[in-house]
């Protein structure tokens, strides 16, 4: 029993009216509530009573009574637009070199900006982004300054030389790279060129320490963040909340000279050969698809990677390697096209990372329809040939 002991003198003193020569008490006034308010079960029941029913029915889920007994809730803060934060005179700079394929930041690049903001905000620094083509998404991602790299085409050596010049001239406390094919290559080139301490594949990062796996992932190495850090994917959360100005700045980069790479040509992945986990665009069939030949023709025509729900894999209509979901493959695709799939939780787990979902289903209330960005309530058996015919027709002239 931990009820506080009543003090009658203090209770009486709470009713005392201030001022006046003689002490006066207003015993009828309710004293300021102290501690937990008293419940009135009868009033709660009266409020929970559902009117207009023959039998007495209480709907306690309304929770009106309890709410009325509570002190009035604070008004909800209005959803504010992200605030612009200007760092006019930064103490130092933290540089980020995102991959930004095609000028658009990838999810990994945004995490890189999150890490840079964390390092910069520790001591009043600013984030400087080195990009080939400055885009509009740098400000929301967390860049204060933007420097355009004077590089055309695929020339990592020229990029590394330009970065080395900037590293020597500007007060860059850290330079962050993504641990991807191009980012990792560039980081190591710069490390070899400048001789600065380099930390490869950081798996966690804070202003005090970075860690990475070494010796065949048996040992964790840890140190204070050095100048060059290469960050693994999904290690740091992307920046959110404030908007930054992404001010373009100028820097006199040295003239690039011709490298050893004579030509570079990008070859897109062959979707028929790529594994499901790596695929960018997955076209998937469920129990609602009975004509699998048309489905396969459609996948080939759309240039996608074929997937399936567990129902089809269990029935042996599609290979097990094509199964999408919790017990199959968790996709990393950008776009998912689901034909006749109900959207069981086990299946949706496999699609959780997809940015865009398109669903065709006969059932308006299927979970897949709810998840989809473009949902079409129609018979997949009729939509598939129509889509094929349309693709064929566009290919003719």
């Amino acid at each position: 029993m931990s009820r506080p002991r009543k003090d009658p003198r203090a209770a009486r003193a709470a009713h005392r009216i201030a001022g006046g020569a003689r002490p006066r008490f207003d015993l009828a006034a309710a004293p300021a509530p102290a501690g937990r308010p008293r419940r009135d079960p009868r009033a709660e029941e009266r409020l929970a009573l559902v009117p207009g029913t023959l039998r007495r029915r209480l709907d306690r889920a309304q929770r009106v009574a309890v709410a009325s007994a509570m002190p009035p809730a604070l008004p909800e803060a209005p959803e504010a637009a992200p605030r612009l934060r200007v760092i006019a005179e930064p103490a130092f700079l933290v540089a980020v070199v995102p991959d930004a394929p095609g000028g658009r930041l990838s999810a990994h690049d945004r995490q890189l900006f999150g890490a840079a903001r964390m390092l910069a905000d520790e001591g009043g620094g600013a984030v400087l982004a080195f990009v080939a083509q400055p885009g509009e998404d740098l400000g929301p991602a967390g860049a204060d300054r933007v420097l355009a790299l004077p590089v055309s085409g695929h020339d990592p050596e020229a990029k590394a030389l330009a970065l080395n010049a900037a590293l020597a001239a500007l007060d860059l406390r850290h330079v962050l790279f993504p641990e991807s094919t191009d980012g990792g290559d560039l980081a190591r080139r710069l490390a070899a060129l400048s001789g600065e301490p380099f930390f490869a594949g950081a798996e966690s990062l804070s202003p005090k320490a970075v860690t990475r796996a070494a010796r065949g992932r048996r040992v964790e190495q840890r140190r204070v963040p050095p100048r060059l850090v290469n960050l693994a994917p999904d290690a740091v959360a992307p920046h959110a909340g404030t908007l930054h100005e992404a001010l373009p700045v100028a820097f006199a980069f040295p003239q690039p000279s011709g490298g050893a790479v004579l030509s570079a040509e990008f070859i897109p992945a062959d979707p028929a050969k790529v594994s499901l986990a790596e695929a960018d665009f997955v076209v998937s069939a469920g129990n609602g698809v009975s004509d699998l030949d048309t489905f396969r023709a459609l996948v080939a025509a759309l240039n996608g990677t074929p997937g399936a729900s567990r129902m089809l894999c269990d029935a042996g209509l599609m290979p097990r390697s094509a199964q999408v979901g919790a017990s199959g493959t968790v996709l990393d695709a950008r776009v998912y096209f689901a034909l006749g799939i109900a959207g069981a939780p086990q299946h949706l787990q496999g699609v959780a990372k997809c940015e865009q979902v398109i669903a065709v289903n006969t059932d308006l209330h299927a979970a897949m329809i709810e998840r989809a960005g473009l949902a079409i309530v129609a018979d997949a058996q009729k939509v598939m040939p129509a889509l094929l015919a349309l693709l064929q027709q566009e290919r003719q002239p």
């Binding site: 048996r218 040992v219 050893a260 004579l262 062959d270 695929a279 939509v383 349309l390």
Partner: protein, 258 residues
Amino acid sequence: MKIAVLLSAGRHPVSGRPAPVPVELQAIRLAVEIGRQFGGDVTGLHAGPELGPLTDALGHGLARLVHLHNEGESDPAPSLAAALAEGAYDLILAGRAGQGGEDSGLLPYTLARTLGLPIIADAAALALGEAPGTLGVEQALARGARRRLLVRLPALVTVHPAAPAPLPFAFAAARRGSSEARPGRHAPAPSPTVEERPYRPRPKLIAKAAAGSTALERLRAATEAASGGGRLLVDPAPEEAAREILAHLRALGLVTAR
């Protein structure tokens, strides 16, 4: 044409015992196949205190192995740089990162810098260039994409795990192959600046963790993440549905208009 393959002292990821690094065995295969077309010879180079299980590399197609003998903890880069400069190799292959040591993948870059060679990362396939003295390198990118580069030789190329699997081990080839020991150049290893402790896997970031209060809401957040906030078409004609889907895919940049 002279080809060198750099071999590092690896450790098996599960047992922790000394073992060759798989991606370096893949590099041997690429080197042997290029050597067969060009009529070149392939040499393996290792700098370290002992060869140990690296003699297995001879069974995976390597004909000659040179061991640059170093005492204890010493930096392999100067020994390798000296041997590579002396051998005047046209093509030097290395793994993308070691397995069992520092594993940072920085050594090929420092070597390329000291030797003044261009470096190409993450090769999945090699081919001869049309012009003499050039090499076609197929670079492995994310999501199964490739980039085909043409480089002038001599060059240093690192190999990606997406390259073809190593040649199978043959006992007779391992017996036939020769290994030769040479004194290396001793250079003290840089003093460690890192603190080491047993590895502990870190939790990966999850896009939208624990949103909402009830179990149902958390399940929704886990499964229905970015709901497209999308468009719903109820019972359209199949042709109209097809047109809509195609327009949507085009907007996402997937199906190119021909």
